[in-house]
């Protein structure tokens, strides 16, 4: 131990650390605490090469067929919110996790964990929404499960969906493939899902109500892949910035590729009402969840073509280049302010909004 470390160990402070032996809500926030949990508990237990890539989906080679495989659980409160509900969200979330691997989504499973006392009418409404979202996305729900728990053991309704999709040959997308010089593309304005949920929960009313951006992104992805030559590997990585927001997603990419990411604050699209709500509530839109947006890391020579393809799709019409990948001695995300200074953009530390997906 060198002298400096030694002196730090002896430093005393009036506020000792709280015990770290309990799960707190922040462990489910998609930020730093969630990452710690994955690294310290799940990865060591399940270690294998597919899992350790830590992408949104596993890419499996089964007898020459490349499958994308993913799962996601939905515990959003309230069940119904402007722009969607737990049913449509359960389809969009899993479809998008497949799409971020470049896959064409094919089949979903749906598992319901229902709290005793839920009205059948509510369940019907959610199921109809699930059906419609799956139909719109062109996926079939082919298996499922139902469990009912005692009153007080759940909160109305939790849903898990698992999905399988087909990945084109020669397509490699992964968060560890970003290289200095690459462009960072964002498919549209951020923060709408998180703010829609929060506004609903807190009974906040805005002149123009904010709706969740919840949507299936696989067609947008297909258009982007078509615009780039798949074999060139020009699209390095796709990610949907859900819980933890854009900042957490970019920090994950920076860490997995061991690079820096430099953003331009003025280039990040944020709708006025979302900005206003964030100002009022003291939130940073970079940390607020999205359910219908994606981030693409793209080789510089292909960025314009991919951006054009995104803007030609209704779900990417406000797409922007928001920054670039840079060399860095350590993984870090920075942002250049409109005043020309720059600051660090960290991963979400704890919990910004409760139960948003």
């Amino acid at each position: 131990m060198d002298e400096k470390t030694n002196s730090l160990a002896q430093l005393s402070c009036p506020a000792p650390l709280p015990a770290k032996d309990t799960i707190v809500l922040g462990h489910g926030s998609g930020g730093r605490l969630s990452a710690d949990l994955t690294r310290s508990i799940f990865l060591p237990a399940f270690a294998n090469p597919v899992l350790s890539r830590l992408d949104d989906q596993a890419i499996l080679n089964v007898k020459g067929v490349r499958l994308a495989f993913t799962t996601d659980s939905f515990v959003v409160k309230p069940l119904f919110f402007p722009g969607g509900d737990i049913g449509s969200l359960a389809v969009h979330g899993t479809v998008n996790d497949l799409a971020m691997g470049g896959a064409k989504p094919l089949f979903l499973s749906v598992a319901f964990i229902i709290e005793e006392g839920l009205s059948i009418a509510v369940l019907r409404r959610v199921v109809e929404s699930l059906r419609a979202a799956a139909h719109d996305a062109g996926v079939e729900i082919v298996t499922g499960d139902t469990k009912v728990v005692e009153k007080g053991s759940g909160d109305q309704l939790f849903i898990n969906t698992t999905g399988i999709g087909l990945v084109p040959d020669n397509l490699e997308l992964s968060a560890n493939r970003a290289r200095p010089g690459d462009k960072v593309l964002l498919s549209g304005s951020i923060g709408e899902h998180g703010i829609a949920i929060l506004a609903q929960r807190e009974g906040l009313e805005f002149e123009c109500p904010v709706e969740s951006d919840s949507a299936s992104l696989h067609n947008l992805v297909a258009a982007m892949l078509a615009a780039a030559n798949i074999e060139s590997g020009a699209i390095r990585c796709l990610r949907d910035p859900t819980r933890g927001g854009v900042s957490s997603t970019l920090n994950e990419i920076a860490e997995q590729s061991n690079i820096g990411i430099q953003l331009e604050e003025s280039a990040i699209p944020i709708r006025e009402e979302v900005r206003g709500a964030c100002e009022m509530l003291g939130l940073d839109p970079l940390y607020v969840a999205n359910e219908g947006k994606l981030i693409a890391i793209v080789a510089p020579e292909t960025a314009d073509a991919v951006l054009g393809a995104m803007r030609a799709n209704p779900l990417g019409k406000n797409a922007q280049v928001i920054g670039a990948v840079v060399e860095s001695a350590w993984p870090i995300v920075t942002i250049r302010t409109e005043l020309g200074t720059s600051r660090c953009v960290d991963m979400l530390a704890g919990d910004q909004l409760p139960r948003i997906c």
Binding site: P14, A15, L17, P18
Partner: protein, 378 residues
């Protein structure tokens, strides 16, 4: 967005910076202006936009004690933690307070272990919870400066009007002017100009700052919270300093006037009285806090739950004391960014988004060569 974009306008900011550079006189250590922004919200903006880096080298910004979470004494946190473990209590608080470490644990952990702890944006929401849970005792952890005092006072006043018997407040309210007085009388103080907290003055006006300015011959400018506000406040201070003047001025005219909000002051005065107050990291400052008056004693959680006896000695080693008084920068702390991070805060200024340590950590870690940037690479 109206009333915001114009105060973040890069062209206006550049004009103000040029004017500051023109106004400030000679260079070098003999001609140095040390300016303190009082409010944590202002510190946050300075760090977020890197304003300190845009100013001439002989203007130094130091950060004041205006982070309500940071100066709330450990014993108040411990009282809240004790209340939160009681099955009959619903403890209601602002979100930031949940992560502040007490002596042994924090509210998030107590919540995870079954304590009924709820986060609200306003004390009136706590009143609503009390109305909806007549069989439980709802305690609102009321902390903050003059800014939050009217809403907190109003909640107590309303509870009494409506005879809501299951609502009370655990109060730790602090006042800015006595803190400035304490800073200025300290022999270590190097500050020669203050940016006063705009929102505090929106409530109480800035008459008291005039007195402070006269007593200590120090210029004080009431400042807003956007980059253009702060740069304009710096310019106003530098103009006074260069002329050897010392007056209280108001930069934040769109929100603040001389007398402040009189109805708000009335309700504060009705519910609260001025009392000696302990500040975390600084110690007790005479007549620097608010406590609930006897006539509202039924709404004072400290009295209701017999909490007055809890008393925690706060060791004096933590550098947050010096950080909160502007004597040191967060990066002067050997634990900064190493053992002390927002995930594992050792002291309150690393917890709150308004805390100076958190602002440095969140926005400044990409600077090469510092200890914190080394941590970033791990």
């Amino acid at each position: 967005m109206k009333f915001m974009d114009e105060y973040r306008d890069a062209a206006i900011a550049r004009r103000l910076l040029a004017e500051i550079a023109r106004t400030v006189g000679g260079q070098g250590p003999m001609h140095k202006h040390v300016l303190m922004e009082i409010c944590g919200g202002q510190t946050h903006t300075i760090m977020r936009y890197g304003l300190d880096e845009l100013l001439p080298a002989n203007i130094e910004l130091v950060h004041g004690p205006g982070c309500p979470v940071c100066v709330t004494p450990l014993e108040t946190i411990d009282k809240a933690l004790e209340l939160a473990t009681r099955p009959e209590v619903i403890l209601v608080s602002y979100g930031d307070m949940l992560r502040v470490p007490g002596s042994a644990t924090d509210l998030f952990t107590v919540k995870a272990q079954g304590g009924d702890v709820r986060v609200v944006y306003s004390p009136t929401e706590a009143l609503k919870i009390a109305r909806q849970n007549a069989d439980r005792k709802v305690v609102f952890l009321a902390i903050g400066f003059e800014t939050t005092a009217p809403a907190n006072a109003m909640a107590v006043w309303e509870a009494k009007q409506e005879k809501i018997g299951n609502f009370s407040m655990l109060v730790s309210h602090v006042l800015v002017p006595p803190a400035i007085r304490a800073l200025m009388t300290s022999p270590d103080c190097l500050v020669n100009g203050f940016i006063a907290p705009g929102h505090v003055c929106t409530v109480v006006g800035y008459g008291e700052y005039e007195i402070l300015s006269r007593d200590f011959h120090v210029p004080i400018v009431v400042g807003g919270f956007e980059p253009v506000d702060l740069l304009e406040a710096v310019l106003m201070l530098v103009r006074q300093l260069e002329k050897g003047e010392a007056r209280a001025e108001n930069q934040y005219v769109r929100a603040t006037n001389y007398q402040g909000n009189l109805p708000a002051q009335r309700v504060i005065k009705d519910v609260f009285e001025i009392a000696d107050q302990k500040w975390r990291g600084i110690g007790t400052i005479p007549a620097s806090g608010l406590r609930i008056r006897d006539k509202y004693g039924d709404y004072d959680a400290s009295r209701l739950f017999g909490l007055a006896s809890i008393n925690v000695d706060e060791p004096a080693e933590c550098i947050s004391a010096q950080v909160l008084q502007g004597l040191k920068k967060p990066t002067d702390c050997p634990a900064f960014g190493m053992r002390c991070t927002p995930q594992n805060p050792l002291g309150a200024p690393m917890v709150s988004s308004e805390g100076a340590c958190a602002a440095y950590y969140n926005y400044r870690r990409h600077r090469g060569g510092s200890q914190a940037s080394i941590v970033c690479s791990q």
